[in-house]
Amino acid sequence: MTLFDDKPAVLLTGASRGLGRALFEELARAGARVVGVARHAEAVAQVAAELRARGLEAHGLGADIGDKRDIHRIAGAAAALVGPIEVLVHNASTLGPTPLPLLSDTACEDFERTLQVNLLGPFRLSKALAGHMLVSGSGLIVSISSDAATSAYPGWGAYGVSKAALDHLGRIWAAELAGTGVRFLAIDPGEMDTDMHRAALPDADTATLAAPADVAARIVRFLAHSQATPSGTRLEAAKLEAA
């Protein structure tokens, strides 16, 4: 029995580019009925249309996870399209301004915006969806983390703080809902060849970076058999063994 046997309803944020786009495809291919969200409505609708053309169930929703007014719009539209959400994947994130400024040089507003997208958005969306998972007796909320959550890299201040807090958000939620069937996991995907990575580190040797499609496939293979993984666990994609 895998997570995807019953074609679960999945909500994925940041679904139009990079790892999110690859996760959109892998989740749908695994059998999930997926609603992908991204700020760029046309781009995410296009990804969904491509997946539907391949016979997969995918819907694209244009919305801003960093805007509180969009949260019930995302939660409600997603449930209207695929039914009660059983798996939520917080993938959307922003680096903040690039080139990456030192903390002392980061504008207060830029710091706030990074937290809005990377932390408050996931908090609000989890809050909107976890209650139904609780009364249903099951649910999974996955946060895509970063090694910047655990290592203090100069220049990665706003992003690293937001990801560290996102990890801890999931751990505390896991403690509060322990034993209810609602589980929380964080996954550090590692360094990938994405637009975001190029924006952060334009001089990096892309030959050393993982392809988002490979990382997404690895994550989805892991999630399929993740039922025994304790809630609140943080994992690194590079160390995930497909069961």
Binding site: A48, L61, H72, G76, L81, P84, A130, V135
Partner: protein, 338 residues
């Protein structure tokens, strides 16, 4: 009874009037004391319908209009009630009539257009409409254009954040299934620790008032419902074990009793709809107790309460609540008939 004029910032902070159906005694409690009023194995059933952004202001036939959506039909059309100029600040019964809209009439809404398919009995204000978008695009636009339905006793504009229950999921409800507002996560976890079981139905709770005499007399209109397999299993299990089934909200009573009535007392999982009206003398097959808001005899939900308790007991409970300063309507205090 005075209405509560705003949502509570702490869901469970209101009051709970416990009316014992066995003894007729009345006690003042807090929602947080519910676990001690229940026994392990008792089953609470919630309506998990999320509230639609059902109120959409627009223009039709050159006049301002407000549509209040009742919900989507299986063929992709929607039922809606039209209101004339104005907004929730004017009591519904004082709102002007909307223009008479014939089949094919166009209603211009923010970012969205609706076309009237036809008016439905019993009122020319009850319309079947079709939007010029579908799927994710339709839902995305509806949430941009609409707001939750609200009434004149709540003056500041409500957001969906104010009206959703903690466990809301699929957006089917024209108005919030508000009996569930006091249930926060802490209370749900306390119930779980007590051994109380929980289950859900989805019921498209409708409008409580339109200001149109013919339409108001016909409320509740036909409403869509769904019973998940998990709930269809849990209810007979609880009953076999001699445990009580307690509905959170009148919409749950309608969903469960109508489903049971049309299946000879069984409760099959699946979707359907109901026109069932429950009132005094109704023989309940499924639901033993009811958690509900404070309902006065003038409200449409009150008749349903008479299927649980005699009129004299409800009158005594209401008088006691009034004296004690309980608040009514969707953000008000709660009542447990058990």
């Amino acid at each position: 009874m005075n209405p509560a004029r705003q949502p509570r910032s702490v869901r469970s902070a209101g009051r709970l009037l416990h009316v014992s159906l066995a003894s007729g005694s009345i006690a003042h409690r807090s929602p947080n004391q519910l676990p001690e009023l229940l026994e392990p194995g008792d089953l609470l059933v919630f309506n998990d319908a999320a509230t639609l952004p059902a109120s959409i202001a627009g223009r039709a036939a050159g006049e301002p209009i407000e549509l209040r959506l009742l919900g989507a039909e299986s063929d992709g059309s929607w039922r809606a009630v039209a209101f004339g100029a104005g907004d929730h600040h004017t009591p519904t019964e004082r709102r002007p009539e909307p223009p008479r809209l014939m089949p094919g009439a166009r209603i211009d809404l923010p970012g969205l257009t609706a076309f009237v398919e036809r008016a439905l009995p019993p009122s020319p204000r009850l319309l079947r409409v079709r939007f010029n978008a579908e799927g994710a695009e339709l839902w995305s636009r509806l949430y941009r254009a609409g707001r939750p339905v609200q009434y004149s006793y709540v003056s500041s504009p409500l957001e969906l954040w104010d009206v959703q229950t903690a466990y809301a999921s699929v957006p089917w409800a024209a108005e919030a299934p508000s009996a569930g507002h006091p249930f926060d996560t802490a209370l749900l976890l306390a119930l779980r620790r007590r051994g109380v079981e929980v289950a859900t139905v989805t019921h498209a709770a409708g409008l409580s008032s339109t200001g149109d005499a013919a339409l108001d007399a016909a409320l509740p209109l036909e409403e869509r419902l769904a019973v998940p397999a998990r709930t269809a299993d849990a209810i007979p299990r609880a009953r076999r074990a001699g445990r009580r089934v307690i509905a959170v909200g009148t919409s749950v009573v309608r969903a469960l009793e109508s489903r049971a009535a049309e299946s000879g007392g069984l409760l099959p999982a699946g979707e359907g709809s109901t026109c069932l009206r429950i009132g005094p003398g109704y023989r309940r097959q499924v639901v033993d107790g009811l958690w509900t808001g404070m309902h006065e005899p003038t409200e449409s939900h009150h008749a349903l309460l008479l299927a649980f308790a005699p009129r004299a007991l409800l009158e005594r409970a209401l008088a006691e609540a009034e004296t004690a300063g309980y608040l009514g309507h969707e953000f008000g205090d709660a009542c447990l008939l058990l």
